[in-house]
Symmetry: C2
Subunit: 117 residues, 2 copies
DNA sequence: CTCGATACATAGCCAGGCAATATGTCGCGA
DNA sequence: TCGCGACATATTGCCTGGCTATGTATCGAG
């Protein structure tokens, strides 16, 4: 599957990360893997993109984190807060409005099936 | 209708402009108006955003322009080139792939109707 | 005659995403 | 046992696109 222009992804990455946390806690690396799989190998979120997003979301109180130090391999688990769950719903709404908006603008082009060749 | 986070719009503005030119030539100001109307008053493309986009598209050979100097009021008409039409199709395809991709990631959240309050 | 809409253009700022780099653990195969 | 690749997190600095602000000029209405 072809990659999507990164410029297009911009602005929706936070939504993806929030969404990846919607059914339970995850740590950074597992979020990358989850998005990679759930997007059918399209979204390859780089570490240099993911971790700053996670830190930002935590600073905004949308996620909370907990270090797992038991084993030598340290993991930082992230979990949605109540505010985070609300944000997720709001941003998903916004996303749908955005899609509707583009569909209206594109007209027939918005409905066409991708053309081979 | 609420505005959409500009960060989310990023990357799709060129597609919108190309789309606005899909059924005939337009000049800058009329493109703004067309997008404003076809988006149900959501997309308010600023001049400082639109003109640079138009210049970029022209430099890339996706649109060609023609000055109308007849009257004192000068207008610069823009028209899609063959390459531009092709790009429009490609980018509309890419947009659809993007939407599908997020639908998969969001799961049920991608289908829900926007909730009041 | 002034104000707001029409019409185009550009300089400069801001923020997000990415590449590169850094650090360290762990398990496997040579 | 040594090294390599996967696992795991973090930060710096660059690039780019969109927005704000500003500038110029025409035109019709009041």
């Amino acid at each position: 599957m072809d990659a999507i222009n990164p410029e297009l992804l911009r602005g929706s990455l936070e939504l993806m990360v929030l969404s990846a946390l919607s059914d339970g806690k995850q740590y950074g690396y597992s979020i990358q893997a989850k998005l990679w799989e759930s997007s059918s190998e399209i979204i390859d979120l780089k570490a240099g993109t993911l971790y700053p997003i996670l830190h930002k979301l935590e600073k905004e109180g949308l996620v909370k984190s907990l270090w797992e130090n038991e084993t030598g391999r340290r993991r930082k688990w992230y979990e949605l807060t109540a505010a985070g769950r609300k944000q997720l719903r709001n941003r998903a709404d916004e996303w749908r409005r955005y899609v509707d908006c583009l569909r209206r603008i594109l007209g027939p082009l918005g409905d066409l099936a991708p053309q081979p060749a």
